[in-house]
Every structure is written in structure tokens, then in C-alpha cells.
């Protein structure tokens, strides 16, 4: 796989920094890829823009900052408005259906997915949305296997919360199966699962 760029975006408090670390560990340590992961966030611990950028590749990564996104996840309308122009033609946009009320159209695939709602209904709290996101990404993009994600989640989340976080991950995986048409679920040809 050539350089594959992923951005997880939303606002402070949504757990996207941890989600990025877990996705990076799943792809890099358990998936055997080269990976870099950077973050950007404002001074606010709640609200304020927040993003996690990952680059995943079969070869060494010379520059760790995203410029042409293959996959963009947005948990707020603002982050979607800010970053959707960075999506590559043929890229993949996963937007939360509650907070992104006006998803853009363009030469990319758009999946509007009830991530926050699922976190609230299935897990009882929206803060679980970051793990739901990871399950959705695994299923829709095929970028990492669910097994690699399970291992990374178990290794990274605070002790005592493993079971809850793993359930949220599975909820995301199941959600992707429900909302995305079967032909949209793909493993990119160049990525070996």
C-alpha cells in the first residue's frame, strides 16, 4: 500500500486523540504497516477543533502530515466544512449523521452514519463515540482488521475500561454493516487484510 492518509476530526472531548493512537497502533504494531500519527487541538479541553492525522504505508513514511486525504471522519459540521476540500478524488468521507447535517458532495464517497446516536443508545454515553468510530472505519475502509483493533484497544484504554471500550468497538463494526450498502464495504485492493 502506498501512502494512505486518514484524518479523524471533530471537537475536543470526543476522544479522537485516543482513537487516533489506537488506530495507529492497530495498523502499525498489530497490522505490521509503517505508520505515523500526529494531532492538532486547541487550548480547550471541551469544544474547539480537534483532529488526529494518520499516515499508513507499506514503505517508510518521509513526511508525517496529511495533505491529500484518503479517509476523513467528521464528528462536527465545522470539521467537515473545514477539511472536506482536502479529500482526494475517490476518497471516503464518514460523517456523523446527527452533528453533520449538511454533508458535502464531491468526487468522493460519503457515508452518513449515526455514530454519536449509537454511542448514546448502545453504550449510554456519547463519550464512547471514539470507539464506535474505530469499528465503523474498520468495516467500511478495511484499513485495519477488527482483530488488530481489539488488541490495540485492550492495550491502550485505561485499565478497567477494556470491556466497555471493546463493546463500543463492536457496536461500531455492527453499525457499519447496517448502514453501508454491501458494495460500499470494501477492502482496498492494495491493502492486505
Amino acid at each position: 500500500m502506498e501512502r494512505y492518509e486518514v484524518r479523524l476530526s471533530g471537537e475536543g472531548g470526543q476522544g479522537l486523540v485516543l482513537a487516533g493512537a489506537i488506530l495507529a497502533e492497530a495498523a502499525g504494531i498489530y497490522g505490521g504497516k509503517f505508520v505515523t500519527y500526529t494531532q492538532s487541538y486547541g487550548p480547550e479541553s471541551r469544544g474547539g477543533g480537534c483532529r488526529s492525522d494518520l499516515i499508513i504505508s507499506d514503505t517508510e513514511i518521509d513526511y508525517p502530515i496529511c495533505a491529500h486525504l484518503d479517509l476523513l471522519l467528521c464528528l462536527t459540521q465545522k470539521s467537515c466544512d473545514t477539511f472536506s476540500s482536502k479529500l482526494k478524488p475517490g476518497g471516503l468521507l464518514i460523517a456523523d449523521s446527527k452533528r453533520v447535517t449538511n454533508p458535502p458532495s464531491g468526487p468522493f464517497r460519503v457515508h452518513s452514519v449515526p455514530i454519536l446516536q449509537t454511542a448514546r443508545q448502545k453504550m449510554g454515553r456519547e463519550v464512547a463515540a471514539n470507539m464506535v468510530c474505530l469499528g465503523v472505519i474498520a468495516k467500511i475502509s478495511g484499513l485495519v482488521t477488527i482483530e488488530a483493533l481489539r488488541q490495540a484497544v485492550a492495550a491502550r484504554v485505561p485499565k478497567g475500561t477494556e470491556a466497555t471500550n471493546l463493546r463500543a468497538l463492536e457496536a461500531g463494526y455492527a453499525l457499519a454493516l447496517e448502514v453501508a450498502p454491501a458494495d460500499a464495504l470494501c477492502v482496498p485492493a492494495k491493502i492486505s487484510a
Binding site: I29, V35, G42, I61, P64
Partner: protein
């Protein structure tokens, strides 16, 4: 953290710094957390107590460095970490540590400034502050990594240089490198050599605390070991007592200035990429060097003979090495995330025969490979 036991790990720049400090023998940390350096304090708070060390969260950055200086005088390796606003507050104590010759490591993860500036966006605006932030003529050592693995190596080196030369050493990271994770094979970083300051072997009554050895560095007695001497920020004699004797003052000030430069070996670090036949040389450090590396490779594909000079030691400035690398080039471009702080230094070194060109950015965004490539192609760089 379960990941800590694996050989191949996902390592973050800030976490690498904290873990390397521990490996280098650091057993004291005092700090006031500030983004984008906070993870260093977080990891030190977790790792130091089980290793028999002490972690103290202080009331501010002035007190933080004061506490580190105190620990070091007592014989314990100490570190603090901050960002621009805290680095400004530390300047007085940096000068004190330079003059009293107290080894310590100060990490500054640069964010956009001036003042409170841009929390928590990247910049390289503190490179001149790292050289001249504290007043008076003084030695300065500043190291600048461009990957998490290099953060680890340079943190160990920072401790070694500070122990060897009895001087504060500054590790200058930008926000991207500090917050970036990459896959690192920890075996490569295990068992790096660790240096410890020389201690006096004479009887306590015979030790002249500030009489230098052949390397220009006096041996250091830890407080509490029976060696009696005075520590002050005033100009001082060989026992540490204040003096205004011009001869003594001149000798000490010159010695401090020269002790870093004469111990150049192992201190001057830099990386060259494709400079041998280069017509255009890009000078870049920290995360900008990663962008420059990509731009240089792209330029080569287009048939432009481009090369990269990456200073790893920013201070003392590797001027001789840069001048040698640039001798055959017709153009030199400085790419940095500030308004040209190192450009002047590069111009001074390469002389007036060619004008240094600049690819500068100070808006909270990192410089991209495309922007540096435009500069190499001689086109106008318009930052978005």
C-alpha cells in the same frame, strides 16, 4: 501501559523524551505542565517514583528550573519541560545554571508565539531565544530532533553533554515532533552510552570547586558530601565566592564560552542528504526537515540537483560544516517556521557571495513539502 514491554512500539515524541531521560539517569523532574509539552510531565510523574526518583509539580516555571538546579547540585540528574511562555520565565535560571555550571536539561516544545500565542500549534520561533534568551555572554547548547526516535537519542545526548560540560542543555522540539507517534524498534535505542559528571577524588578541604580540568570543566562535588564551596550567580573565584577582579572574571567568562566549542567532538551533529553535487541546498531542522527531505527527492526526480543540510545541533551553530556543504552550491534556501531567525545565521556563515533565500511560515501551520519544492524551483511560495 502494556505497550511498554514490546520491542517495536508506537512511540510519541514527548513520551520518548521522558523515557530517554529516565534511561539517561534522570531521577528528578520539576515542572509546570504546559501544552504541547504536558505529556513529558505526565509520563515522568508515572515513571519516576517507581524508579526511585522524585516528581514535583511546581507553582511556575521559574521555580521549576530552580528546583532542578537544586537537585543537580545535590548530585541528582534533573530535567524540566515547558513551552515558549514557560521558557521565557526560565531564562533567568538558565543563566544561573550556565554561570554556576550546574548540569540540567531543559526541554522546550515550541508553539506559536509571541506571548501565550498559539496553543497548541507548531512553530520554531524560539531558536534565537535558546541561544540568547538569558542575558550576558554565556555558553548555549541546543539540540533539535526531527522524529520521535531521534527525540530519544538526543535526550540521552542532552544529559550526557550537560554532565560532561557542566552546563544546561536545551532540547528544542516543535509541536509536531513532540506530539507525533511513529513505529520505533526499541532495541535500536537500548543501551545508549550514559555519561556521569566527574566527582572530586581529593580530600574535601583541598577541593577548589571552580578550578577547571584540562577540558575546561571543573569537577563537581555534590552538596552534602563534605566538600565546602559557594554557589552564586555573581562572578566568582575558584571557590565560588563573589569577585570583581577583572582577570578572574575575564578568565571565567572566556572559559565558559569556550568549553562547549573546544569539546566539539560528539557535540556537532548534522545530517547531509545529496549535498555533494547540489546546486541548491535547503537548510531545515525539526519537522521542516522532513518536508524538505521530501521536497529534495521530488526536485531530484525533476532533474534539479537539490540537497538538504539538517542541523541537529542548533547551538553551537555548525557553521564550519554548513559552509563546507554549501561551498559548491549556487543557491541556499532556509526553510523554517518563524520569520527568518536562522536565515541571518546562515547568511553570516556562507558569506555575501550569495543571498540566502527564505521559505518561511509563522501562522501555526507546518511548512509543506510542496511549498519547499516551489522554493527550490525558484517559484513564488504563497502560503495558504
Amino acid at each position: 501501559m502494556g505497550a511498554a514491554t514490546k520491542t517495536v512500539q508506537l512511540l510519541q515524541g514527548n513520551a520518548a523524551c521522558a523515557r530517554a531521560a529516565l534511561a539517561a539517569g534522570c531521577r528528578f523532574y520539576a515542572g509546570y505542565p504546559i501544552s504541547p509539552s504536558s505529556e513529558i510531565a505526565e509520563v515522568m510523574a508515572r515513571l519516576l517514583p517507581p524508579a526511585g526518583g522524585k516528581f514535583i509539580q511546581m507553582e511556575d516555571e521559574i521555580a521549576s528550573l530552580g528546583a532542578v538546579i537544586g537537585a543537580s547540585l545535590a548530585g541528582v540528574k534533573g530535567m524540566t519541560a515547558t513551552s515558549g511562555p514557560g521558557f521565557s520565565l526560565m531564562q533567568e535560571h538558565i543563566g544561573y545554571a550556565c554561570y554556576a555550571e550546574v548540569p540540567c536539561v531543559i526541554v522546550n516544545v515550541m508553539r506559536g508565539g509571541p506571548s501565550t500565542g498559539l496553543p497548541t500549534l507548531p512553530a520554531q520561533g524560539d531558536v534565537m531565544q535558546a541561544r540568547w534568551g538569558t542575558h550576558g555572554d554565556h555558553p548555549a547548547i541546543a539540540l533539535c530532533p526531527s522524529t520521535p526516535a531521534e527525540v530519544y537519542e538526543l535526550t540521552v545526548l542532552a544529559f550526557n553533554l550537560s554532565e560532561r560540560l557542566r552546563t544546561p542543555v536545551i532540547l528544542l522540539m516543535d509541536e509536531v515532533v513532540a506530539h507525533m507517534y511513529e513505529k520505533v524498534d526499541m532495541r535500536r535505542l537500548a543501551n545508549l552510552p550514559v555519561e556521569n559528571r566527574a566527582r572530586p577524588t581529593c580530600e574535601p578541604g583541598k577541593h577548589a570547586a571552580f578550578t577547571p580540568g584540562a577540558d575546561g570543566v571543573p569537577v563537581m562535588a555534590p552538596f552534602g558530601d563534605g566538600y565546602r564551596y559557594h554557589v552564586t550567580g555573581l562572578a566568582h573565584d575558584d571557590r565560588g565566592y563573589p569577585t570583581q577582579d577583572p582577570k578572574l572574571v575575564a578568565a571565567t567568562n572566556r572559559r565558559l564560552q569556550e568549553k562547549t566549542v573546544r569539546n566539539r567532538e560528539g557535540l556537532m551533529r548534522y545530517e547531509l542528504l545529496d549535498t555533494e553535487d547540489a546546486e541548491v541546498i535547503v537548510f531545515a531542522y525539526g519537522i521542516v526537515a522532513a518536508a524538505a527531505r521530501r521536497a529534495v527527492r521530488e526536485a531530484r526526480k525533476q532533474g534539479i540537483r537539490a540537497g538538504l543540510f539538517r542541523p541537529i545541533t542548533l547551538w553551537p551553530f555548525p557553521g564550519e560544516e554548513l559552509a563546507a556543504a554549501c561551498a559548491g552550491a549556487s543557491r541556499v534556501i532556509v526553510a523554517e517556521m518563524n520569520l527568518g531567525q536562522m536565515s541571518g545565521e546562515v547568511q553570516r556563515v556562507i558569506g555575501r557571495s550569495k543571498d540566502v533565500e527564505s521559505c518561511l511560515k509563522a501562522d501555526g501551520e507546518a511548512i509543506s513539502p510542496e511549498e519547499i519544492l516551489l522554493a527550490i524551483e525558484g517559484k513564488e511560495v504563497r502560503h495558504v
